[in-house]
Symmetry: C2
Subunit: 414 residues, 2 copies
């Protein structure tokens, strides 16, 4: 496939991608968009010009501040719409000759501001990387029994805070809170001293289910519109003091950053791979067939203020022990209902070797092995004015499909 | 104060209450309502008839499926509106003579269906009763060190699932899930065998704050519109297996039931009492002045199918160790933003003696002391077709302000 819209061969946004996002155009109005290379295309304008007729779009769902109205139409509509848009961008298409519309609907990436692509009614965070869970268990519990007894039997998860999910580019203030020094019985209050990123991905659901109903591993992917990169910011010192017995709270809910482009499961289909063997065997409701892991390269860069970036992690989404279908089947097996726009994050995605650890906690082994940055500085955790950039992309047979970046600068505590 | 609308002296919905709710009228349209005795009053109609003019209501915010648009106006509007409505209902008012409007805007409680009163963007559950936390700690950890080290230093809380919050009257299916028998290394799957209620109350916020900002204990109550009864359904056996290390998940998110009438903080003002002495002294951001606990009688009734109710718990909201202002200050001290309609539940509200325990887990002491019901049956936990009814009311100087009921029947697992 060759698009009439030119792009670099290294672009995440090839003709094979066709992601969905929401942009503020010229600081004037929000609209749903897609992207080829560095060209952002206003889908509401394509609709108004008749390029999206007869596809089951009864109204202009792209004329919106969020993608929820489009996503809610379900795969029977969104999949053909995406395939149709892909064809519109091919050389020789009607759109390729419609220079008037191109002048109005095509924008340079630098002239738009990308926003959070969906309204997120509910946000769940899983803990599905066996390497990450093992590393954390080794550090904080027993190196010989790093995984808790339930870990291999169910995808451990907990509810996060959806109000504080922000788009790439939104700076976050270092959180303040209680921590307990090791040498004291009393807690102290102040800015977190162990602020960390967590390299995650999240999937977004396209359905409202009824309370009491369950999704199976077989039909779970029908309910998943697509994925984003997800930086699950964590204050390790706050978490250590607060998290028993009911889990993380203020250590997490001061902000989570997501990439602005939702890459569909269909675009990721060529990059499916088999997941790890699950031993012991899982309960019947968690069994699945087919390849449900995805080979997505992941990278984290750390950039101190006014300095250059050091890549501190190269990981891959294919390492996940529990796949998304299992996560969604587990989440709903008790009858919990899902909603359109919900985000379900993977948990930190670490690989086997030290270069693939998805958090500073693991990379610096709880501060015992600070990372040397390119500019000579060292880091155990994230300092004020540091910027963390996460990237994700798949490549196979000369086709590249990626997520772009989620970029967040940390500001001092307010 | 005497209303021209007659009501029983034992009614929770006296002229001193003036709560807010949302009703489906004659199965035709939803509208925001208030209530005196068993008379439900359509506020959208009062607005259209001009009875709510010059109060800062620029449009008919009561013509809505949820109270969020009204609540969002903030106390500078909602408090005078409620006081004005109260005056409308007094003997001799213009409304008392307007029989035409009464014929159109006044409904018998039996002719309307009460709905969930707000859209809930975020739901947090605290764990703020020292008696409950101590009981749970005694049963599952160490009777000599029942409270974890952090408990007296911060109001422990965690995020819940807002999608599965339902209104009184909505039946819930018994959840299925994984549990681990004591005599096995492997988990099994099936319907929960230890389904429980948790007697809680929840407050609802009226503000959007900016990420990075904090609410203080001094201004927290300005951001609290009112309260509801909250039944935080829990599957104890699912929770025991899943909850380490990240907290409750499927054990809770299959459903939470709330009472349909939001009672404002202003209506509860006469029932303020001092909270318990907090020892050790709390950190400065958790200190507060004034009476921030409320004397609200709470009761739980258990009714087997086709049988009579047995009251299994009489508790009181005044027992709370951590008050709502402290909860909200803690929740936001790290910069977490709050939204209009958020629900913040108290955690199970237990008193000191066995008759005041707010869950079957405590009442039956984890099944060791089953409760004898009036009809001769016994209960350690909730059986299929049982109905649980929670009630809450305050009384002082002949004035009664209450919440009515939250009623939920448990159906078999789907």
């Amino acid at each position: 496939m060759k698009s009439f819209i030119t792009y670099d061969s290294e672009s995440d946004f090839s003709i094979y991608n066709i992601p969905f996002g929401v942009a503020f155009i010229a600081e004037e109005y929000p609209t749903c968009v897609t992207r080829i290379g560095d060209t952002v295309i206003d889908l509401a304008m394509l609709y108004d010009a008749g390029y999206l007729d007869n596809l089951g779009l009864e109204e202009n769902v792209f004329e919106a501040m969020v993608l929820n109205p489009f996503i809610e139409l379900g795969k029977s509509v969104t999949v053909p719409v995406r395939e149709h848009i892909q064809k519109l961008f091919l050389e020789g298409s009607d759109l390729s000759k419609d220079t008037d519309l191109q002048a109005n609907a095509f924008f340079d990436l630098n002239d738009v501001q990308m926003m959070l692509p969906v309204h997120v009614p509910n946000y769940t965070d899983f803990y599905s990387s066996i390497e990450h869970a093992t590393n954390v268990g080794k550090m904080f519990r027993d190196p010989e029994n790093a995984l808790l007894p339930n870990w291999r039997h169910l995808p451990v998860g907990y509810h996060g805070r959806s109000s504080s999910i922000v788009s790439s580019g939104t700076a976050l203030h270092r959180p303040k809170g209680q921590t307990k020094p090791a040498d004291s019985d009393m807690p102290v209050f102040g800015p977190s001293k162990r602020l960390d990123f967590e390299l995650e991905m999240a999937f977004i659901t396209n359905t409202y289910t009824e309370l009491g109903d369950s999704v199976t591993t077989e039909n779970a992917e029908d309910h998943i519109f697509g994925m984003v990169l997800f930086n699950d910011w964590s204050a390790r010192d706050l978490q250590k003091w607060e998290y028993v017995p009911l889990g993380p709270f203020l250590a997490k809910n001061f902000g989570s950053s997501v990439s602005p482009w939702i890459v569909t499961l269909e675009a990721l289909d060529p990059f499916r791979v088999a997941g790890p063997k699950q031993d012991p065997e899982v309960l019947p409701y968690l069994k699945y067939e087919g390849e449900k892991n995805f080979d997505i390269n992941l990278q984290v860069g750390l950039t101190p203020q006014d300095s250059e970036e050091t890549v501190v992690c190269n990981s891959n989404f294919k390492y996940m022990y529990w796949n998304m279908a299992q996560q969604l089947a587990h989440h709903t097996v008790n009858g919990c209902n899902i909603e359109v726009g919900d985000m379900y994050a993977s948990g930190t995605i670490s690989g086997k070797d030290e270069n693939s650890y998805g958090s500073m906690l693991e990379i610096s082994w709880s501060g015992q092995k600070p990372v040397k940055l390119k500019d000579g500085q060292e880091r155990s955790f994230i300092e004020d004015y540091d910027t963390v950039t996460m990237r994700g992309w798949s490549e196979k047979d000369g086709k590249r499909v990626g997520f772009g970046e989620v970029v967040t600068q940390i500001l001092p505590a307010k």
